[in-house]
Symmetry: C2
Subunit: 151 residues, 2 copies
């Protein structure tokens, strides 16, 4: 699915970006949170909470479910991670500074997911619900299907 050429670079740049964002916002990017984010970025297949938990256990942490869910909460609030509700999994945000009108393509063959943006799309969506006099707080737009590489 992915167009990321060198995944090591992909991870490192995401981590560096996260560092900067937390610094700017005065948030504490602790070792635990950092490690959870790194584990999520290890793959473009969205991570399951309990898989992250298992991986943490293999390391220094005394990991229990709340350990992971709290870190996930922090990362979501900070915009560094998104939850994909249609598959109960978590993915690193590819442009955390301006996540806006984005959606996710999730391949049911290779299981990879990709975050996409489309201003036209966003506009059409916005328009649709203002007609319904509805004040949006959070939009979930996820497409399950088959990606180009898997056909």
């Amino acid at each position: 699915m992915l167009d990321c050429q060198n995944h090591e670079v992909c991870i490192e740049s995401a981590m560096r970006e996260a560092d900067l964002i937390c610094q700017e916002k005065g948030l504490r990017f602790t070792e635990l949170r950092r490690e959870v984010l790194r584990l999520i970025w290890l793959s473009h297949v969205p991570a399951k909470a309990y898989d992250i938990l298992d991986k943490l256990k293999g390391k220094a942490w005394s990991a229990k479910p709340p350990t992971v869910y709290r870190a996930l909460d922090f990362l979501q609030e900070t915009g560094l991670v998104h939850k994909l509700d249609s598959i109960n999994a978590y993915i690193g945000c590819s442009h955390p500074r301006e996540h806006n009108g984005c959606y996710f393509l999730i391949c049911t063959d290779c299981n990879e997911a990709k975050e996409c943006c489309s201003p036209e799309l966003t506009d059409a969506i916005e328009l649709a619900w203002t007609k319904n006099s509805f004040r949006p707080k959070k939009v979930t737009l996820e497409v399950l299907g088959q990606c180009g590489e898997c056909e």
Copy 2:
């Protein structure tokens, strides 16, 4: 949230439509499935699986989780019910014959949900992912926010 004027009528028409659709498709709309659909239609607040379970228990059924989930599976396959992934709840489909490019507005105040259609929206969405050479199988589009009545 809703523009349904008389909810009794709303329920009855949904049930009648479901009857017809199952008949046309040669599907067995059993008492259990019928009752689950009716319980879902009782409110425009999407129903939780275990609440349906509790309500079934108050009736003739020996209800256990699979009782409800199987009925929900049937109703979803038939297009009579949709699952809202962002809130893990189930809602009756308001136009089961041609559900297409629909999305859901979910009010976080009154908890009601409304199914909406917008061809422009659908088109914009379709376009967006064909650019990514992606073959969609299922689209999840849910908007959490505040409805007109709740402001």
